[in-house]
Amino acid sequence: MNFVYSRQGLRGGERVLQRFLEVIPGVMSWTLVIGFIVTAFWQPVIASIFVILFMLSWVMRLFYYLIFLMLSYARLRYEKDTDWLSRMRELDRLPDAATEEPGRSSTAKGWGARLSCWSYRQDLREIRRREAFPPPSSDIYHLVLIPVIKESREVIEGNLSGLLRNRDLLKRMVVAIALESRAPAEVKDAVRALKREYSGRFLDLLVVEHPDGLPGEARVKGANASHAAKAAGEFFRAKSIPFENVIVSCFDADTVVGPDYFACLTYTFMACPDRYRASFQPIPVYHNNIWKVPGFARVVETGSSFFQLVEMTNPEKLVTFSSHSMSFRALVDVGYWPPDMISDDSGIFWKAYLHFDGDYRVVPIPVTISMDVVDAGSWWRTCLSLYKQKRRWAWGVENFPLVLRGFLRNKKIPLYDKCRHAFKLLEGHVTWAALPFLLTFVGWLPAILSGREFSNTVLYFHSGRVTQTIFSLSSLVVLGTVILSTRLLPPKRKKFNLFWNVIHSLEWLLVPVILLFLSALPALDAQTRLMSGRYMEFWVSDKRRSKTS
C-alpha cells in the first residue's frame, strides 16, 4: 500500500482528515472529565450511578490486570534460568534432530522448568507445522543502534558494558552509535574515545554522525536512528551479510541489557515463524539508578514496568515501546523509523503493520532491559523532568490519526482487526488521560455539587458507602503490586534498616497522586497539544549516572 506514515506534506482532504482525527482523543478525554463534572452538578442521580458502575469496572479491571501481572512475572521468573544458547543450538538442528527437551541450567527444577519446556515444545511444533525453519544461529547477526545526543560517557559506556556481557554473540554484533551532529563537543569526543576502546570487542563499532536539518526530518531520535541504520546497511552489504539474517535492536543510550538478552532474542527470532513480520519487545525496567531517585520516581517507573508486563500477556495487541528489536529486513522494507515523529518506538510498529497489510506483530521476549529513572538532581527538577518524559510518552497519541488514515486507505487489513486496533489505541490514550481524574474526583463530586434535594436521598448515602467498599478492594491490588515490586526491583546496594524498608513499601500510597500528576496530567497535556496543533519538539530526559554506578 502506498501510504506515507507522516503528517507532513498533506494537502486538501487528507490534511483536513488528519486534523480531524488529531482532535478526537483530546476531545474525548476532556468530554469525559468535564462531562462528568457537569453531570454531577446537573444530574447527581445519574452521576452517582455512573460513579458506582465506573468504580466497579475499575476495580475489576485492576484485579484482571493483577492476575496477568502475576502470570507475566511468573514467566519472567521461570525463564530466568533458561539456557537460551542451548535452545538456539537445538533449533539449528531443525527440522529433524531438534529434541523437545531444551537446555536448562542444572539448578532448574519444578513447575517453572516444566512450563518453560512446554513453551519450547510449542515453538518447535509451530515451526515444523509451518515449515518456517530459521537460518542457522551462526549466520545471525545483531545490529545495535544507540542514538546519542547529550548523554555522558558513563551512560553510553554502561550500555556497552551490558552488551559485552553477551560474550558468545559479540563477534556477530555490530554496534552503531548514532551521534547527532549538534551534540556537544565533549559528547563527540567521548564517543570517539569509546570507539577506540571498544571496537575490537565487537564485530565492529561504527560511529555514524547524523547531519542536522536534512529535508523531511524533524529533530527526533527516529531520524537519527534511521540514518545510522542506513549506514549500517551499507556495512552489511559490503560484508555480503543478507539483511534477513540481521536483527536490529534500537536502544536508548541508557539501556543496559542482561547477559542473556541477545541469546534470548536470537532464540525468539529463530523460533518465530513470522520472524520477518515481527518486532521483539523485552520488558523495560528502570533499575540502573532506582535506589538513588526520589520515591515517587521509583513508583512511577515501576508502574510503567508493570504495565508492560501486563501488556506482554496480550501479544495480539502489543505495540513496541522504548528499546526493542526487529528484523532488519522488515525495517528496510518499511522505510526505517519515522524521521518526523517523536514516538518512533510505537510509530515503527504501526508503520510496519500498515506496510504489511496487517501481517505484522510484536513478540514479547521474557527478558528485561534496564534503563535509568529520570534524575535531574533535585526533587523538584526530577518531578518536572518526569512530567516531561511522561508527556513525551503520551505523545504516542500522534499515531492515532496516522493509523486511522492508514486504515481508511488500506483495503486488505480485515475490518475486525482495524476496529480492534483503533479502539485499543484510542481507548488506551483516553483512559490514560481521563481515568485518574475520574478516579480522584468521582467519589465525592456528586455529593459536593448536588443540592439539598439529592442529599436527602438513599442514593446519596449508599453511593458513598458502595464506592468506599469498592475502593477498599482496590487496596488489595495495591498490596499485590507492592509485594511484586519488592520482588521485581533489584537488590538494594545499600543496606536499609527496617524503617526505610517500610517507607519504601509505603511509597505505593503515593499512587493516587502520581496517577494524577505524573500520568494523567501529562497525557492530557499531550492530547490537548495535539488537539490544538501545538506539536511537541523532542526533549531528551535528564539522566545522570555517577562514575561509580
Binding site: V458, F461, H462, V466
Partner: protein, 485 residues
C-alpha cells in the same frame, strides 16, 4: 495465554454485568423482601448524627448495634420511632417518616447532659451584661457607672476593667452604649457633674484605650451612631433626618454630611441612605458626598413608613435588612416586609443564609435559600417560619449547633429548642436576672449570663467540648451575630 485471557475476560465481564444491577438497585434503596408481595421493595433510610457521638440507637423500641453517627438503611416506608440515648444525658426521640428512596436525616441531634454544668467566671455582682455582636467582647456592668464596667474577652477568657480604678470619671453614670457588630469599639455616653460626655473606647489591648470625643457631638444626643470595621475612620451620627460624619482622629465633624434621610447604614466603605423613594450611597470618606442611586421608585414609598426611621444592615452585598424603629423588619427580597411591628431582634447564622427573627412572643426562621415550591403559580418569595409562638417576653435568641437549635430567654428563663421540631417543648436551661442580657458563643459552646441570685458572671456549657475542637481550626476573629436589640 490467549485462551486464558479470553476466559478470564468473559468471566470478569459476566461478574461485572451481574453485579451492576445489584449494586445500582441496592444504592437506590431496593432490597429483596421475600415476605412482601412484590418481592423487591424500595426502602428508605434514617441518618443520625448526635452530639456527643457514640450514643445508642433504638428503632421502633429495639436496641440496635449501631452507635451514632450511623445510617439505618433498608427500612420499609412508614413511620418509625427513633430514640437516641447516651449515659448521663437526656435522650432524644422523634417519629421519622421514612419514604421509599428518601433519607430522613437527623444530623444535628443535641444530647443535653442530665445535669447542665455551669461555672462561675467572675465572682462579683453585676447588674447588666451587654455584648458587642460578632466580637469576643462582653461588657459587664456592676454599678451603672463607668468604673463599674468590666470587659470580658470570652475567646481568651480574659477580664479587664474598662476604666482603670481611681480615675475621676469612674463615677460617671452610663447613659447609653453604642456598639457596632464586628467592631471592638464602644462609644459610651456618660453623665457626670451635670455634663454629658462621649467616650470612644478601643477594647483591644491590655488596657482599653479611650478618647473623649464629646466636642464632635455639638447638636445633642443622636438617635444612632454607626461606624465600620476594626479601624473605623469615621463615625456617623444620625439625628432626626440627617447624618453627621465625625472624625475622631482629626477631631472634626461634618454636619449635614447627608441630609433628608429616613435611614442609613454603612457597608464596605460606603454610606447608604434611605429617602422617601430612593436608596443611594456615597463614599464614606468623600470630601463632598456625591450620591449614587442604588435603587428607587414608588414601591419604596409604599414600603417604608413615612413616620419611621430605619437602620440598614448589609448581611452580604446582596442581602440587606431594614430595621424600623417602630419594630418592623424589611429586606430586599420578596415579599420585602417580614415583620410589621414588634421586632425584638434578629441574628443571622454563620453562612448568612438564614436569619433568626424574634418578637416578644414568637421566634422564627427566615431562610434566604429556600426555593419556591415547584409548580407554584404565585411568586411569593421567602417567608418567616414562626416555629415558636408561645413566648411572652422573649428578649434574646441565638442559633445553637449550626441552625438546628435555638437558645432564647422568655422572661427570666433560658430555653433550648430545635428549630425543626415545633411539637417538642423547649428545654429549660437556666435562669437569669430579670431584664438581663445573655450571650451564646458557638465557638466555645457556652452560654454567658448572670446568676439571678448572686449576680455572678456565669458560663453554662451547652455544646460538649468535642465540638469545640472542630472550631479550633476555623476563622479566628468574631462570631457573626446580631446587632444589639
Amino acid at each position: 495465554m490467549l485462551i486464558l485471557r479470553k476466559i478470564l475476560f468473559y468471566l470478569f465481564l459476566a461478574i461485572y454485568l451481574a453485579l451492576c444491577p445489584v449494586l445500582v438497585l441496592y444504592s437506590l434503596g431496593y432490597i429483596y423482601a421475600p415476605k412482601s408481595e412484590e418481592g423487591i421493595v424500595k426502602t428508605g433510610l434514617i441518618h443520625l448524627e448526635s452530639l456527643p457521638p457514640g450514643a445508642s440507637v433504638h428503632l421502633d423500641q429495639k436496641l440496635l448495634a449501631e452507635k451514632t453517627p450511623c445510617t439505618l438503611s433498608s427500612l420499609l416506608p412508614g413511620e418509625h420511632s427513633v430514640t437516641v440515648s447516651l449515659n448521663a444525658h437526656r435522650s432524644w426521640s422523634a417519629q421519622a417518616q421514612v419514604e421509599a428512596g428518601k433519607a430522613s436525616v437527623f444530623d444535628h441531634v443535641l444530647l443535653l447532659p442530665e445535669t447542665i454544668k455551669s461555672e462561675v467566671l467572675v465572682r462579683q455582682r453585676f447588674k447588666e451584661l451587654s455584648r458587642i455582636p460578632a466580637t469576643r467582647f462582653l461588657l459587664l456592668n456592676s454599678s451603672g457607672r463607668l468604673g463599674g464596667v468590666t470587659v470580658f474577652d470570652w475567646k481568651n477568657n480574659d477580664l479587664k476593667p474598662l476604666v482603670p480604678g481611681g480615675l475621676a470619671d469612674a463615677d460617671e453614670e452610663i447613659q447609653r452604649v453604642f456598639t457596632v457588630k464586628r467592631s471592638p469599639h464602644a462609644l459610651i455616653l456618660t453623665k457626670g457633674n451635670g455634663a454629658s460626655r462621649y467616650l470612644w473606647f478601643d477594647l483591644r489591648g491590655e488596657t482599653p484605650a479611650r478618647k473623649d470625643i464629646s466636642r464632635l457631638f455639638r447638636n445633642g444626643a443622636p438617635r444612632d451612631v454607626q461606624w465600620e470595621g476594626a479601624r473605623p475612620g469615621f463615625l456617623f451620627a444620625f439625628y432626626e433626618d440627617r447624618l453627621d460624619r465625625l472624625d475622631p482622629d482629626a477631631n472634626t465633624v461634618n454636619t449635614h454630611f447627608i441630609g433628608k434621610i429616613k435611614g442609613f447604614g454603612v457597608h464596605r466603605g460606603k454610606v447608604y441612605g434611605l429617602r422617601k423613594a430612593s436608596l443611594f450611597r456615597v463614599n464614606a470618606d468623600a470630601r463632598r458626598p456625591e450620591e449614587t442611586e442604588v435603587d428607587g421608585g414608588r414601591f419604596l414609598t409604599d414600603l417604608f413608613r413615612e413616620d419611621d426611621s430605619y437602620g440598614i444592615d448589609f448581611l452580604t452585598g446582596d442581602k440587606v435588612l431594614f430595621r424600623g424603629r417602630s419594630g418592623s423588619l424589611l429586606a430586599n427580597r420578596l415579599p420585602y416586609q417580614f415583620v410589621e411591628e414588634g421586632l425584638a431582634g434578629y441574628s443571622p447564622d454563620e453562612d448568612l443564609e438564614k436569619v433568626l427573627v424574634w418578637t416578644r412572643k414568637e421566634i422564627g426562621l427566615l431562610d434566604f435559600e429556600k426555593t419556591v415550591p415547584a409548580g407554584a403559580l404565585f411568586e411569593r418569595g421567602i417567608e418567616i417560619d414562626w416555629f415558636y409562638q408561645k413566648g411572652t417576653a422573649i428578649r434574646k435568641a441565638f442559633f445553637v449547633y449550626g441552625t438546628s437549635h435555638v437558645i432564647f430567654n422568655n422572661e427570666d428563663t433560658v430555653f433550648l429548642m430545635e428549630t425543626s421540631a415545633r411539637e417538642t417543648r423547649p428545654v429549660g436551661i437556666t435562669r437569669i436576672p430579670a431584664g438581663s442580657d445573655l450571650f451564646f458563643a458557638e465557638k466555645t459552646g457556652k452560654l454567658y449570663h448572670l446568676d439571678p441570685e448572686t449576680g455572678y458572671f456565669m458560663a453554662t456549657e451547652i455544646l460538649p467540648a468535642e465540638r469545640i475542637l472542630e472550631r479550633v481550626f476555623q476563622e479566628a476573629e468574631g462570631s457573626r451575630e446580631a446587632p444589639a436589640a
